[in-house]
Symmetry: C2
Subunit: 319 residues, 2 copies
């Protein structure tokens, strides 16, 4: 049986050979550029492996898997416009390279191309897959909406979890469930894999927040402390605000230089141990992911290992 590396290579190969229309090439050049940027290809990998674990073939799921990767990259293209981000994965973002207007239009094309790829699944599951895909897409936008709104107001821990479930969890969860549906899973198993993907996403995001403050600048790929500078409503910031009796707000109100702001907030985090506790929360959702996986009746139980390795890697990653 194909191992994870072979599946990853197959996904990469198929992504590189997605056929795009010959008309209006200027529309599709940024699409190709966005897909060539690399990344973990986690979403298509989850979909293909979920399909195989439930007894289907990689071939049956691969187009839908590519559709999920196309969708993910579409959200990055539009997010980078909204966030004014010039860099993505060490290269100019699509917006920086091709301009905002082109990034809007080519991003729109990517969403439609994703939808076209999602259509290419076995007839019997096509409607259910498309319905899952569209529901998921709305949740991702809703998560982005909440994330944006939190820039201008405080958020509670419950709101933070709602936001990351929508923005990060929904796509990973649906990748698993769509793969399972294509593989012919029963509803309980498809739902168990959805829950696995959701908990994976939450653990991933908590770890991501932790890395932004406590990661190693050499391996993280982004400057350390960006979330603090932007006062991003992370688990750590929300918790520190709740527990520091006004001390966090006092620091943030001071209009400090970025480096000093990072230093003071990080010291407060250390004193309150919110870094360690954020990491512990990630570990808790890591455990919930495994517990969800245990509820899935996998037709190919040897693939359980892939899902465990994936959550291990994501919840304790260094970059």
């Amino acid at each position: 049986m194909a191992d994870t590396k072979e599946i990853s290579e197959m996904i990469e190969r198929r992504l590189a050979s997605i056929e795009l229309p010959e008309r209006a090439r200027g529309l599709y050049e940024p699409v190709r550029y966005a897909l060539e940027g690399g990344g973990k290809r986690l979403r298509p990998l989850l979909a293909v492996q979920a399909c195989r674990a439930c007894g289907g073939s990689a071939d049956d799921a691969v187009d839908a898997a590519l559709g999920l990767e196309m969708f993910h990259n579409f959200t990055l293209v539009h997010d980078d416009i909204m966030d004014n981000s010039d860099t993505r994965r060490g290269r100019p973002s699509v917006a920086a390279r091709f301009g905002n207007n082109q990034a809007i239009l080519s991003g729109d094309a990517m969403l439609t191309l994703a939808s076209q790829l999602m259509e290419r699944v076995p007839e019997g599951v096509a409607r259910a897959v498309m319905s899952e895909f569209n529901d998921m897409a709305l949740r991702v936008y809703e998560g982005q909406q909440l994330d944006t709104e939190f820039e201008h107001r405080n958020a509670t821990i419950d709101e933070y979890f709602e936001m990351i479930r929508l923005k990060t969890g929904a796509l990973l969860a649906s990748a698993c469930r769509i793969g399972a549906m294509i593989g012919g899973a029963d509803k309980a198993t498809a739902d168990a894999l959805y829950e696995y993907g959701m908990e994976l996403g939450i653990a991933f995001q908590l770890r991501d927040d932790w890395l932004d403050t406590f990661g190693d600048a050499a391996t993280f790929g982004k400057p350390i402390g960006g979330d603090i500078v932007n006062e991003k409503k992370t688990w750590m910031l929300i918790t520190a605000r709740r527990e520091s009796h006004g001390e966090l707000d006092a620091i943030l109100d001071e209009d400090l230089e970025p480096a000093e702001k990072i230093r003071q907030v990080t010291r407060l985090y250390e004193r309150l141990r919110v870094g360690d506790r954020c990491d512990a929360a990630a570990a808790e959702h890591h455990a919930l992911a495994i517990a969800a996986l245990d509820k899935a009746q996998l037709a190919e139980p040897q693939l359980r290992e892939f899902f465990i390795e994936t959550v291990d890697r994501m919840a304790s990653r260094k970059l």
Copy 2:
């Protein structure tokens, strides 16, 4: 049998009562706002009437018809960002009212909502309808791409027609074909109605270009001469450039005040009779629309009148 007015009212009612998720309301408020802006509702009307003409019921087609209107409005929301347009149908555009970032994100949601509505068609035609919808969407973006590229270079008449077929024709044509497919039309009739919609779109766009220069400011709704000021590559401008032996370029090179530029170019158009000939080209495509309609084997031939009235109204409209 319901007449056009009743169908239009039904569409308006159904549009106003589209259910949107209760989560992240800030995402959906601009969607509601965009849909409330009015407009001719031409695309949903064509879809419903094509379905009925081919023997189906209005009910079978109405959700897909709403999906087409949602899609159309999505393109307007994103176009208004790209064109920096503050006004749409006499109100602030979504971008002006809610900001560019919100317009990007809510526009994305509208595309997904359109796709969800397109799914709600009778099971037997669902895949074909979704495939038609996605192909059409790409064509619309390609048309927008060409239109944008023409801002920075000259275009030929052939390129102009390619652009308006994609940008304006494809959606009207697909509205007709999707309605026909839902109504159970055979392929020849569905394709004939597609061609009708395409020719309708071309006639519509030629008339729109003509009105922008020769329309009545009181009824047109936009300032007269905007296309000339922006040197938009319309049928008239391309033809005048080809036939005026450098005279058009000489005027455009002069860096004139807008009113004077409009005056001089309009006078050149009049001398070359490109206005009349543009109108004649619209009439030609009007006739091609009727010829296409004659190829359709309508199960309900009394609905032929609706399609004739529609192209009559569009190709000779004053506003």
